[in-house]
């Protein structure tokens, strides 16, 4: 696997993990796991310790724990993995299936158009709405120079 496809995979895994579960379920409806899929790691929820650095460069500290659901599935010759924040088992399963299908060159373009494109548009819309909401509450501070 060359670096560019590695990067592409990281991007679609991120997109799938951050998707709205209902939208992902709708987009993935025609791509359910086939009966011969092997659930290498059935979806399981656990805790991940989030760590940060003070100011981005300082000493590491434990920020807190986040629940994460992970899942791995083998479909044909491809193994799909997913790590999803929260405890939505179905979300992790669908994301793992999508990851496995997307590695299949024969199906990649179809999934890209039918699954990734709508999710990307939806993520963009969510971000746009959030930044608009934030921009609407922007306050301009100014000081009046006190005259003597």
């Amino acid at each position: 696997m060359d670096t560019s496809s590695h990067l592409a995979r990281a991007q679609w895994m991120s997109l799938l993990a951050q998707a709205e579960p209902a939208e992902l379920a709708q987009a993935m409806a025609p791509y359910a796991a086939p009966p011969d899929a092997i659930w290498l790691r059935p979806a399981q929820t656990g805790l991940y310790m989030l760590r940060g650095r003070i100011g981005g460069t300082g000493a590491r500290f434990n920020l807190g724990e986040a629940s994460v659901t992970r899942c791995s599935v083998q479909i044909g010759a491809h193994v799909g993995h997913a790590w999803v924040r929260g405890s939505d088992v179905r979300h992790a399963e669908l994301a793992a299936c999508a990851d496995a299908w997307l590695q299949d060159h024969a199906r990649h373009a179809r999934l890209e158009a039918q699954v990734l494109a709508p999710l990307r548009a939806s993520r963009h819309a969510r971000r746009d709405a959030a930044s608009r909401k934030a921009a609407a509450s922007k306050v301009e501070f100014f000081t009046v120079v006190r005259g003597e």
């Binding site: 092997i38 659930w39 290498l40 790691r41 059935p42 791995s72 083998q74 010759a77």
Partner: protein
């Protein structure tokens, strides 16, 4: 092509752990392993059941035959580091007992920490209780008899030589046909 592990990772490994504990407490008596996971060759499902029950990212494992599929399986499901030197391993998987290395090739522990030794998981042909070798030692009332098929003759000589170095030594699990038998370092083989 990868394989799955235990269907229910938590409860299956706990059920197996109970039996492994019981096997160590009663050496020389085979116990049935309650759940066997799928396993890539050359490891048998019985050996994989023991490995997946006992190993995690803190226990280096040594494989007698390095096999990419088996190594990948263990790394994925148990997260174990695989080591090249038998002496550095906490657990060793012996898939071909006839060709196994000499017992002093494994970690025997430190006089202050005799628990830092290698535990051997040996795939054997069959375990036949009531016949064959007679054992005595802690955990055995009088004697226990069980034939372990497929072990080379030198294994018993090497094991007898290690007995003089107690508390140093190696503990063994023998697996065959859904069963596990433990021989900790304190169990003696009796001459008939």
């Amino acid at each position: 092509m990868m394989l799955a592990a235990f269907a229910d990772p938590v409860f299956d490994s706990q059920r197996n752990f109970r039996e492994l504990l019981q096997a160590m407490a009663r050496p020389g008596t085979p116990r049935a392993l309650p759940s066997l996971p799928p396993s890539p060759a050359p490891a048998t499902p019985e050996a994989m059941a023991v490995l997946l029950t006992l190993c995690d990212q803190a226990t280096p494992v040594w494989l007698q035959a390095s096999h990419p599929g088996l190594a990948q399986h263990l790394r994925f499901h148990a997260g174990t580091p695989l080591v090249d030197a038998a002496v550095a391993a906490d657990f060793a998987l012996i898939t071909d007992a006839a060709a196994m290395p000499s017992l002093d090739a494994f970690a025997l522990g430190d006089p202050r920490y005799p628990d830092r030794s290698t535990t051997l998981i040996v795939q054997v042909g069959a375990l036949r209780p009531g016949t064959g070798a007679r054992f005595a030692g802690p955990g055995i009332r009088d004697t226990a008899r069980c034939a372990i098929d497929g072990l080379p003759e030198r294994f018993w000589r090497e094991r007898a030589a290690l007995a003089a170095r107690l508390p140093l030594g190696v503990d063994c699990f023998f697996v065959a046909a859904r069963q596990v038998l433990a021989l900790p370092r304190t169990t003696r083989l009796l001459e008939d």
